[in-house]
Amino acid sequence: MMLPVHYLFSTGVFFIILLTVTALYCILFSRNLIRILIGLELLTKAVTLLIALAGYITGHMALAQTMIITLIVIEVVVIAVAAGIVIGAQRHNQSLDVRTLRNLKG
């Protein structure tokens, strides 16, 4: 059974907003650095879905797919570098708690 475009858009945006709220809650209330990165990842999932939905509805799926590929590439680079920084911070402070970063100087 096919669904009308407006229904697809509204339902999609509804769940995208809820996923964004979940990700933002994770970023704001987590104290663990790895969990903050996981929240960031969830946020990019919501953005990916939004781009795909926009492309699907407007009929520009090819353009949307290339945008998603670019987003994924950026996402991987950010996570790889951030994971390296997190490991470095953990070895320096012996903790993954974001509050220990307040002690950093320079």
């Binding site: 809650y25 663990n32 470095g88």
Partner: protein, 171 residues
């Protein structure tokens, strides 16, 4: 159109996996939950006529990024004993409100039922992903390659610094 009645079900599963990822106490389970979220998103992309994006999402996000997270978790030392218990209690207190907030936001959105204007432009001239990627967005690819290089150099410098500090060969 491939989208059908499974679309809202998949969206709901995506949200559920996202909430589980955030709320679970174990960090490893959290990383696996993220992979599950990516897999569901890949399924959605496949159903939305975006197979290439779906393959990228499945292989890179559900695969590579999960490996990066699990490696980072295994390279760091977890808390143990009383400290871990205190951390878990504090975490439960902070995250118990998440499902309530999501339900409230969902309820508000459902009650307001905002009218979202849909501007539908004419179909794109380019319908092939390869044409768009190599012809329309050629310059963006250069930026993409530069970002990858920046990431590689970033990781190399981070690990080089650590090796130097450990060995004490350089100041």
């Amino acid at each position: 159109m491939i989208i059908d009645v499974f679309y809202p079900v998949l969206l709901f599963l995506l949200l559920l996996a996202g909430i589980w990822t955030v709320m679970t106490l174990n960090l490893l389970k959290s990383a696996i939950g993220l992979a599950l979220t990516s897999a569901i998103l890949a399924l959605l992309l496949f159903r939305m006529d975006a197979p290439l994006a779906g393959v990228f999402e499945l292989s890179v996000c559900a695969g590579l990024i999960t490996v990066v997270f699990i490696s980072a978790i295994s390279l760091t030392k977890p808390l143990e004993g009383a400290e871990a218990q205190a951390r878990d209690r504090s975490r439960i207190k902070r995250f118990i409100y998440l499902p309530i907030i999501v339900a409230i936001v969902g309820g508000i959105l459902y009650a307001l039922h905002p009218h979202l204007d849909l501007f539908l432009p004419p179909d794109s001239l380019e319908t092939d992903v390869r044409q768009v990627l190599w012809n329309v967005r050629r310059l963006d690819l250069v930026g993409q390659i530069l970002i990858i290089l920046a990431g590689v150099f970033g990781v190399v410098i981070l690990f080089k610094d650590r090796a130097d500090t450990k060995g004490g060969t350089k100041s």
